[in-house]
Symmetry: C4
Subunit: 200 residues, 4 copies
């Protein structure tokens, strides 16, 4: 059933590619005659930061999806659904990104940041559910169980860490976003290095 | 002519992936300074519900499309057109979704729901036409005719059930939408289980 | 160099799939509280017609692109550019579609229709240029030259017929659009049948 | 690890295809009743020019990406990231394009042009970084080192030439854009010809 996985991967790649490219549409184009262009462009810096963080996040999710499917050899109906659930989270990312970009630095930045971290928390949960199911039922017979365990260990930290980001918004919103970026780097690390980093 | 089918599948996957990802663009971003953000975000809940239902619907259509093309082995001009017709329906989904999201709970929710169910009715008809044609002309020689019949039996119920959703809007609009969700689950079931469920 | 063509086809398929799916974004969502929804939805009928014509046009261009690349066996730099030129036309389609949808039936419908037919004229020219080049330099050694000639004969009519559509706008705009639809059907026909139809 | 590269290429192709197709969404649709349509359409000419330049630029970047990956035979984590960095630049292109289209010919055209050339400068730097890394670590054992050197020589000019475009905006903005177009043609040339052209 190799072919089955191939089409899931192709469809998922399409969704990742589109979601990552749509992010740019959320950045507003300053209109002509609405004041000094340079100043207007600079004033929008939270939009650029949000664009880059979300781009990095979706890109790194794609890399992780990729890693999982080098281990997943078979496919079944449950995998199709769990993968769709994950893609639901991926597709939603442009919305909290735009909300955060519009409200960062303003009075309502906390709920915007909670929505943002919350989306990532949900996606992290979906990643865990997908991998837990797949690693039990759909690996090849010659699967590298040590590598699979390292992935599980790295992913298990995801939901906890994003919950911590949410908690941090009550202390300091920009700090919670810096942690979010650090987490993207952490999940970008190959599992064996990430586990080592987390164990330090 | 395996290759012919491969390119139809790839093109269709692309359209499904884009249509499912565009859904998020229909959710409005609350602007800064237009009142309490949390309240504004919560007030938009019909948009989130519509997003999730439509996402599930398109995702499940993709799974079904996938299932059909594991049976369809050959391709011809008629298949190209019937498939385009189906994709026309898929591409249209973001529009009724956005209309429903904007009008749900308001005085005009009935025509919005009729447009929504009506789009699904048309897509269900197109699915039947495509499968009826393909199952007669384009299956492999060693086709599993029992599996094909189960798909036909499951799909034949589609247009009737979506018509019933439309009728239900005169009784109760939210109930008609709950039925719509239940139908998505029904069509997500593999045909052999779905037929069993329908025969109970 | 089979692989070279494979990546051109995949990239082109992506562009076709996206352009066809973006068309729906040009249809306006009637806002809540701006009057009777049913009437507003019906009033927008030119948008739906324009959506369907453009969908059919892009879909049929995809089928034709597909046909050409079953004959084209090799790739070179010129093919890459001529193909990009064709995709430039395909990508532009949502713009004249939206302009036509907004102005059909109003005082400015003629320039809108000219822009619409004009875009198709340019695309038809690009199709001819691509095919003329490819049919001379990039077919397989065992190419079916009779089939290639039939494609050339069918395509050569394209620019002339779309110019005729433009001319027709001075007589009657709706009639020019009906001819445009008829042309889509004509180009949807396999070349051998299309040539027969044209010779009648 | 051929397969690894295949999925990077497929994902990148998806991003290129989407970014190039989204450009059209930045062109405004003149509304009905806002004056003579023909005049309004003509007045928007900077949007069309910007659309075509950006289309050419992304198309030519795709061709170049293609060329690089005919040489790159292996994949590793660094390549995944450097490729994501490059795609970040590609995805951003619709934004400076729209800004330039809105401000070209007006008092704020200089900062708009600087943003535009600046984006291309950054992309050119990312292309150099990707290729420098890949050409040292990921070529096949039988790699054509002379071809690789020619690519390096051509790409090394990119950042310098786009910096020169930025400098030119203080002299003459339209001239800087003409140079930008000329550069697109230069990078479209196959490396061996481009190097010859540059050495003249």
């Amino acid at each position: 059933m190799e072919k089955e996985t191939a089409r899931i991967e192709a469809f998922s790649d399409g969704v990742f590619a589109i979601a990552i490219t749509l992010l740019i549409l959320e950045i507003k184009i300053p209109g002509a005659g609405s004041g000094d262009l340079t100043r207007q462009l600079l004033k929008q810096w939270p939009s650029y930061v949000a664009f880059i963080i979300s781009f990095a996040f979706i890109g790194i999710m794609w890399i992780n999806h990729h890693r999982l499917f080098t281990h997943i050899k078979r496919s079944d109906n449950a995998l199709l659904f769990l993968n769709l659930l994950l893609l639901l989270g991926v597709c939603a990312v442009p919305f909290p990104t735009a909300v955060l970009a519009q409200h960062f630095g303003l009075s309502d930045q906390r709920p915007a940041a909670i929505l943002y971290h919350g989306t990532y928390f949900v996606i992290a949960v979906f990643f865990n559910v997908l991998w837990t199911y797949a690693s039990r039922h759909l690996l090849g017979k010659d699967a590298d169980s040590s590598a699979a365990h390292k992935i599980s260990a790295q992913y298990a930290l995801g939901p906890i860490l994003y919950l911590f980001c949410i908690a941090l918004t009550w202390v300091n919103v920009p700090m919670s976003l810096l942690l979010n970026i650090a987490l993207a780097v952490f999940f970008a690390l190959p599992p064996h290095r990430a586990v080592r980093t987390a164990n330090r």
